[in-house]
């Protein structure tokens, strides 16, 4: 029983990681006043780029790098549309999602001829897991042993990166000059402009941060968690991350908690598949999987506190007025 719980939490951590990285990407973009429903697309494009590069070069590091580069490129397209050309941010996000969904499969098929997949990565081509010191020796210690060796040790590097990125983002947003300006530009860009700081520059920088984090999330999906890219492998994770971001009311540490909650729901849905539960009969797997969306809608409706987005979000900044 105890071991079951540990394994459940272990897969919670694994499933929460891509959500966390993607939600933090959205955090930077939206806190700077750029709505980003193109997270899904950036995640997918990064996963493809990472897997394709890792397959060709045999190096997961180059893969992760190219995942980041591609995600940044998509983020900058979104930035150009929303910041420079003052287009509709929602429309631009939709376009990013379409482009990623189409291009990944189209180019994948044309480059590798495996029905949109990338060749499976073997051995060194994929990120390995990190085992903490003494993880094997303390495994048999009751309670603490399994927690240390199963739950904390033995994950991919990017898992640790993700869970460090959340407190780091908190520090950046609330304790650095850049963070103060970033939050200000999402609330009141005119004030930032008056202070002589470039609104567009800050927002582009935020988009680059979003790109880096989406790139890491995509790399995690394609070259750590799985050994290659498959069509539509992000499977709505970008949107769940968006939901998590809203559910945490655009705050970094809360984002981590929400992503763990959503990861837990996903992990338990997988585990409960086809099992009988006391009182309710067969586990309502679809309901558990839909819970993140239901929770977010309920929150948005203002029944659990109130989610107030950054004030200047969604509107392009026009200097003279």
């Amino acid at each position: 029983m105890f071991m079951d719980v540990i394994l459940l939490l272990d897969s919670t951590v694994r499933l929460a990681t891509p959500l966390l990285l993607t939600a933090l990407a959205g955090l930077y973009a939206e806190r700077s006043g750029v709505f980003d429903i193109g997270l899904e697309g950036k995640l997918l494009a990064a996963a493809f780029a990472a897997a394709a590069t890792a397959a060709v070069t045999g190096s997961p590091w180059l893969g992760a790098l190219s995942g980041m580069v591609v995600a940044i490129a998509f983020a900058l397209v979104h930035g150009a549309a929303c910041i420079t050309f003052r287009g509709n941010q929602i429309v631009s996000g939709v376009a990013i999602n379409f482009l990623a969904a189409g291009l990944t499969v189209l180019l994948g098929q044309s480059w590798f001829q495996q029905g949109g997949r990338t060749p499976p990565l073997i051995g060194e081509g994929r990120f390995g897991t990190i085992t903490f010191p003494f993880a094997e020796t303390v495994r048999d210690v009751p309670i603490l042993g399994p927690i240390y060796s199963e739950l904390l040790s033995g994950h991919y590097l990017l898992v640790y990166v993700a869970f460090l990125a959340a407190p780091f983002s908190w520090w950046v947003l609330y304790r650095t000059r850049f963070g103060l300006r970033l939050r200000a530009v999402g609330e009141n860009p005119a004030a930032v402009d008056t202070a002589g700081i470039s609104v567009a520059g800050l927002r582009y920088l935020a988009m680059v941060c979003a790109g880096v984090l989406c790139g890491l999330a995509g790399s995690y999906l394609a070259i750590a968690q799985s050994a290659g890219f498959v069509k539509d492998m992000s499977a709505g994770k970008g949107f769940i991350a968006l939901a998590a971001l809203i559910f945490s009311k655009w705050r970094p540490v809360q984002v981590m908690g929400t992503c763990l909650l959503f990861g837990f729901l996903d992990a338990s849905a997988i585990r409960l598949q086809g099992k009988e539960l006391p009182l309710i009969g067969e586990a309502p797997v679809q309901l558990i999987q839909a819970l993140p969306y239901i929770l977010t809608v309920v929150l948005l409706a203002g029944f659990i506190g109130k989610a107030i987005p950054p004030k200047a979000g969604g509107t392009p900044y026009v200097k003279e007025r």
């Binding site: 429903i37 990623a100 189209l106 180019l107 839909a290 969306y293 239901i294 977010t296 809608v297």
Partner: protein, 374 residues
């Protein structure tokens, strides 16, 4: 940037420029794959218009896109972004299928069809009601709620198809096939008017319904009091409230009309083609509707033309991937993305350039020459 431009420039030249750029970039993608874009266009045009069955398939796909395009367009007029057409169409399919499953044993098709249309529209409208109400009453962002409702629709339908509506003893998550009375007649006679053979294409009566819906939306938006209120609310919500227009009422009604149009789309695949309820029946048409509405400038005539273009791409794309296996049907999704990007998100990109050009010397002859060169 804010200079006044002649009407034909704003409504004709700039959208045309945007589209041309979108298709040029699509051509570059084809070249990147190592194929000839001109040849690709030839295959698409032949597949879409070269023979009767192809034309019928083109119109069949266009039918879906007219409905979803109108769905997004109606919401645009109230300045609402309904990104949930996909989910509304999916749930609309449930309404259509329930009517067919309930009555196909003892009613003729011409009684079932109107019932199914009403049920599809009602289910789609119902699915749009909650996001609309939450936006109007509680201020939750309609884009986010409609995205969430797309996923909720997908979960609900998987649950229903796997646990409730599935035929016992089969594995496929789909309902039973409707009896003859639960099927819309194909319109082969219509194709024969033009000397074409429909072949095996599933073009059916919902095509006419889509055209009627176009006319209906035009009447609604530009010829009724409600349409006037919708447009006023969309142009300036504050002024609309000042003029005595109830924002909650307009938001909810507009979204329900929008959702109803998406719901009616389900008629085409469910009652017109597959004759059963099945997974993913909207097949992304709800999202294509966004591109269609943007391209058609939210006008029913524009929507119909843009829907036809996407019908051509869908049907021609099938032919293309057959003739050029390197170009899969995902090329259509790429083109969709480029159209949404250039005609939607980057719609102001060329405006400063064009405005500067017209500010220098408003000589329309030169203007046309330049447009031709671009």
């Amino acid at each position: 940037m804010n200079a006044q431009l002649p009407r034909w420039v704003d409504l004709g030249l700039i959208p045309a420029l945007n589209l041309i750029v979108a298709f040029l970039v699509a051509g570059l993608v084809v070249m990147l794959i190592g194929e000839n874009p001109v040849e690709a266009v030839e295959h698409i045009l032949y597949g879409a218009f070269g023979f009767g069955e192809g034309i019928a398939f083109t119109l069949f796909y266009a039918t879906n896109f007219i409905f979803t395009g109108l769905c997004v367009a109606v919401a645009f007029h109230a300045s609402l972004f309904n990104i949930g057409g996909e989910g509304q169409a999916y749930i609309g399919g449930l309404g259509v299928a329930l009517v067919c499953l309930a009555f196909d044993a003892f009613l003729p098709w011409w009684i079932i069809a109107p019932l199914a249309i009403c049920a599809g529209a009602a289910f789609g409208a119902g699915w749009a009601f909650v996001p609309a109400y939450l936006q109007a009453k509680r201020g939750s962002h309609i884009v986010i709620t409609t995205i969430m409702f797309n996923f909720l629709a997908a979960s609900l339908m998987v649950y229903l198809l796997v646990n409730v509506l599935k035929v016992d003893g089969t594995m496929a998550p789909e309902s039973r096939t409707f009896e003859e009375a639960g099927r819309l007649p194909k319109i082969g006679w219509f194709m024969e008017l033009f000397g074409q053979n429909i072949g095996g294409a599933p073009l059916n009566l919902s095509f006419f319904l889509a055209l009627i819906a176009c006319g209906g939306v035009w009447l609604l938006i530009w010829r009724t009091k409600l349409g006037y209120e919708i447009r006023t609310f969309g142009a300036n919500p504050t002024a609309a409230v000042y003029a005595g227009i109830n924002p909650v009422r307009i938001t909810v009604i507009t979204m329900m009309i929008s959702g109803g149009l998406a719901g009616m789309m389900a008629l085409n695949p469910v009652m017109g083609d597959q004759n059963r309820l099945f997974l993913e029946l909207a097949g992304g048409a709800g999202f294509v509707g966004i591109a269609v509405a943007l391209m058609g400038r939210a006008h029913p005539v524009g929507v119909a033309l843009a829907a036809l273009l996407f019908g051509v791409l869908y049907q021609g794309g099938a032919e293309l991937s057959f003739e050029m296996p390197a170009i899969t049907r995902d090329m259509i999704v790429v083109i969709q993305g480029l159209v949404v990007l250039f005609a939607g998100a980057l719609e102001f990109m060329f405006r400063p350039v064009v405005a500067r050009f017209f500010a220098k010397g408003p000589d329309s002859k030169v203007g046309k020459a330049k447009a031709g060169a671009a």
